[in-house]
Subunit: 324 residues, 2 copies
């Protein structure tokens, strides 16, 4: 067991001090947490594995830490929930420089602070190969008010927050041997979970269903349709494409359709609801509607209709050359 | 992403059906869970990594699954809590036979069923090397009633459940090139978390502090002493040693003192309390007492007094030749 890492995490967790809802943090067999009366607990877990979700030569440790926690926070946002505490299981190879861990934790803790989430515990181990992290986020939501994937109804409008394809564009550049600058690809290097937007949608009862865009629009809209037992029509021209690189060029349609890890929210809303054009400063765009036919159709610029099949976002498993 | 594994876990989770406290299981961004009114949430995470915590050539998949979940359940037991739900993050190499995963999940789900814990979600990924599992267990405990490590008082008696050193003895045999039979080393191959005992101790307000023996008596008693700011005296002759192998021979003192992964409970109790000789059919043994001096002393057979230093249980990282 890497005692240095254990001691470091322990020190950091203690230094975080008492936080809302945290009765007992690191230093016992379990963390003890209080859920507000009338609320339900939300739990999500997400791996961040070297070689699969990041590469040490591509991603500064702070970026890995930030993306690691954001993956979990984004799942909480997608339920309309509020994050309370995070738990980090971290296994590192024996020879990993201490500085890497320090910087990784700095990125993770900055993200935790910004989202008012306390790092409340976890596990450490020696890794047989590569850096392995698993982030667990515990959140809460008023009883019966979590926004599920299963609530979309035929006729509902489909919305996305922000712009899509920005994270995939950075990856595409990496695979092409380029060195994308963090400043030019903020959604890849410094994604922010849309917690505030999720909360507003829940409080105003605007969304009938919601998911976060971690696997890409085509896959995640497929999940909404599967769970809601409906279909969808998406208008290609309406999809807000990220502008990336030095020239702030719009990403290609495939990146916006299939690129993952943007951590924007995809939600549906009844046409009787008034969905604002911006929430918490972020543009909200209508991209299509829910249909009765159980398939997802992409409506092209000239009115063409083609089935939009989920093109799984397989991280680094294969080259996702998504830029058109 | 290993879609076959994802589909399998999804199918299994759905087949588990509605469970106490589970509002929404797998199939959404988060699991949604209800904590009983007047209760607090408990959260624990534990890695199970190939080559560190198990070896494929030593441990049948069912055993790996059982031990994986037991690690988390034992932490809940050590707080006097009740497990509600487990979450499994599982990364496997692309070429792992499906049968291994099926059998691993069978062991894990049998253990879940026995402990009335529902597998409510998790994550799957492709592993860059070896099988990687992280188990998260969510439990609950009446408000303010979690049994912490920090409550031991000078004069309190120290107790352990069951017998110690049985798990380490099996490991020792493995390292010696022998093939320990599961039947002869139940605490290694089929450990059971002491949930019922933890609950009784909490309900009857018997324990002033508690921890589970995952790292070994010397290390875990050290944790109790550190957190409670006390010391301890342990009587070597009083330590209940596991009887293992075909001949049911008692393990050596070092295995009982330093061997990990027995998942028994170590707790302290005021001398004013009556601690029964058995709880839930398991023997409870007094092994020493808490002292004011902040060190742990081992009292030998002839009255010798030696400091008992924590000898970290470093799993398979090095040969823990613990049998004397």
């Amino acid at each position: 067991m890497p005692l240095a890492e254990k001691a470091l995490i322990s020190r950091i967790c203690r230094s975080v001090g008492p936080a809302h809802g945290l009765v007992q943090g690191i230093g016992d067999d379990c963390a003890v947490l209080r859920i507000l009366p009338g609320h339900e607990a939300l739990v999500t877990t997400d791996f961040t594995l070297e070689g699969i979700h990041f590469r040490r030569e591509w991603h500064p440790p702070e970026v890995v830490g930030r993306r690691c926690l954001t993956r979990g926070l984004s799942d909480i946002a997608a339920m309309g929930g509020t994050p309370i505490a995070a738990f980090l299981s971290l296994a590192v190879p024996p020879k990993l420089p201490q500085a890497w861990i320090d910087r990784f934790l700095r990125g993770l803790l900055d993200t935790a602070r910004e989202s008012k989430t306390v790092l409340a515990g976890g596990d450490t181990a020696q890794s047989p190969a590569g850096i392995l992290a698993d982030i667990i986020v515990l959140g809460s939501v008023p009883r019966g008010r979590a926004i599920l994937r299963s609530g979309a109804k035929p006729g509902d409008s489909i919305f996305v927050t922000g712009t899509l394809g920005g994270a995939a564009a950075a990856l595409s550049d990496f695979f092409a041997g380029k060195k994308p600058r963090p400043h030019d690809f903020p959604r890849h290097f410094a994604p922010v979970a849309r917690i505030q937007i999720g909360k507003v949608l829940r409080e105003k009862r605007l969304a009938s269903s919601m998911i976060d865009l971690s696997d890409g629009l085509s896959t995640d809209l497929g999940h909404i349709c599967d769970e809601s037992k409906v279909g969808a029509e998406v208008v290609a021209a309406a999809i807000p494409r990220a502008q990336v690189g030095r020239k702030r060029a719009a990403v290609g349609l495939p990146a916006a359709l299939h690129g993952g890890e943007d951590y924007e929210l995809l939600f549906t809303a009844s046409t009787r609801k008034h969905v604002p054009a911006r929430i918490a400063g972020v543009p909200i765009t209508r991209i299509g509607r829910i249909t009765r036919q159980k398939r997802v159709v992409l409506i092209g610029e000239k009115g063409s209709r083609n089935e939009l099949r989920p093109q799984g976002w397989e991280h680094f498993a294969k080259n996702p050359s998504l830029k058109s």
